[in-house]
């Protein structure tokens, strides 16, 4: 598995989408609101669907049948594994950074 870094400039938005979908399937509008709550910044529609497209292409998320003219997406097993790996990497990085700060 190559990880989220493969998504280039969309890797940050992609991770936020995966975190949003980790709680269950959501459509674009719900994802926007959830990410706005998480980060305090609402992703634009172009950025959001740019990242969604790349996540779908990598098989990290998949579309479900439309409901109320809106298409929900859900995390796949590959997406769950990629997110877990990325969060573990971030946790390790954060731990190291905090430890060094404490030493300094």
């Amino acid at each position: 598995m190559s990880g989220l870094s493969d998504l280039g400039r969309f890797s940050q938005s992609a991770m936020l989408i995966l975190i949003s979908l980790a709680a269950g399937p959501k459509h674009g509008y719900a994802m926007q609101n959830d990410i706005a709550e998480l980060t305090g910044e609402r992703p634009g529609p172009g950025t959001l669907y740019g990242a969604i497209r790349r996540l779908e292409e990598h098989g990290y998320i998949e579309a479900l049948p439309e409901r109320d003219r809106r298409k929900p997406y859900r995390l796949t097993d590959a997406g769950r594994a990629a997110l877990t790996l990325e969060l573990q990497r971030m946790r390790s990085l954060a731990r190291t950074g905090l430890r060094r700060l404490a030493v300094a």
Partner: protein
């Protein structure tokens, strides 16, 4: 109420638009920050348009792209050679027409006037449509004028043979740059009108705008010093000058051989024709080629979804 915002989704490549266009439009229409989101969608759409062409770049695709670019770069040279090659055929034809009382002026070469532009223009039209229908050129409204202008600028820079595009290389380059920028803007307008199925408006804009771009590029050549004695004020030079008030007719006069009454054929337009040589004719042919390509490419894109139903 905010439906006009949705138009920006049209900037996406067709495949992406078909997959995510409706959802993106929905978020845009209901956005609490429409201006910011409009900019976000426009920016992402343009980046997708460029990256879609580069991401799946295989050797085969790269070779096809290089071949298309090579074709585009060779097209102005091909037009110029054809115009020159037609001169021996068109000379007697022009002489015959003048014998019948139909005067087409006296351009540097009959091939550079309407006699040459008409038949080669048909060829340019056919070539443009063929390449447009192949659908191999993304963002043709920008890429095609840029490639053709680059090729003509390179031609104008060649000492000796480059003078076929005007006696003064720097003026030819500047005029061609003006032509390229103008045609790209016109191409975008025509493409957008045709995308909205406003075909008649597209053609009207194409023909009217094409004439305007060609008039401006010819005037740019003269005013940038390409025909120095013509551009300077009358009292500056002893050489007869074409009055600046005839600038709107310079292009049409050169191509048609029909001059304003007071300019006459006594010298002014002949001098201008000597200085500018085949530049207006080659610009005209490249304009026809580009507009035909854009129209054909837009037509094939618009047809595809309907045909697939």
């Amino acid at each position: 109420m905010r439906q006009w915002l949705v138009g920006v989704v049209g900037l996406y490549p067709r495949t992406i638009r078909e997959l995510y266009g409706e959802e993106t439009s929905d978020l845009l229409v209901n956005s609490p920050t429409p201006v910011r989101d409009l900019a976000d969608v426009a920016w992402c759409a343009l980046r997708d348009r460029i990256s879609q062409q580069t991401e799946p770049m295989t050797m085969l695709r790269a070779r096809a792209g290089a071949l298309t670019l090579a074709k585009l770069l060779l097209i102005p040279l091909g037009f110029a050679i054809t115009l020159v090659a037609l001169t021996p055929v068109l000379g007697p034809m022009q002489f015959t027409l003048e014998g019948l009382g139909i005067s087409l002026g006296q351009p540097e070469s009959p091939g550079y006037g309407i006699l040459g532009v008409l038949p080669v223009g048909l060829l340019a039209w056919w070539l443009g449509r063929r390449l447009g229908q192949a659908g191999t050129i993304a963002a043709g409204w920008a890429l095609v004028p840029a490639a053709l202008a680059l090729s003509m600028i390179a031609m104008a820079g060649v000492p000796g043979p480059g003078m076929i595009l005007g006696e003064t290389g720097s003026s030819s380059m500047l005029a061609t740059l003006c032509w390229g920028v103008g045609l790209a803007a016109l191409g975008l307008l025509v493409r957008n009108l045709m995308h909205r199925n406003r075909v008649a408006a597209g053609w009207t804009a194409g023909i009217g705008g094409g004439l305007l771009v060609l008039t401006l590029s010819t005037a740019t050549y003269v005013f940038s010093g390409g025909a120095i004695s013509l551009a300077l004020p009358p009292d500056f030079s002893a050489v007869p000058v074409v009055s600046r008030e005839h600038a709107p007719y310079w292009y049409l006069g050169l191509i048609s051989g029909i001059y304003p009454d007071d300019a006459g054929v006594s010298g002014d337009f002949i001098m201008l024709s000597d200085a500018v040589k085949a530049l207006p004719a080659v610009h005209t042919l490249c304009t026809i080629f580009t507009l035909a390509l854009i129209a054909a490419a837009t037509g094939s894109i618009c047809r595809t979804p309907r045909e697939s139903h």
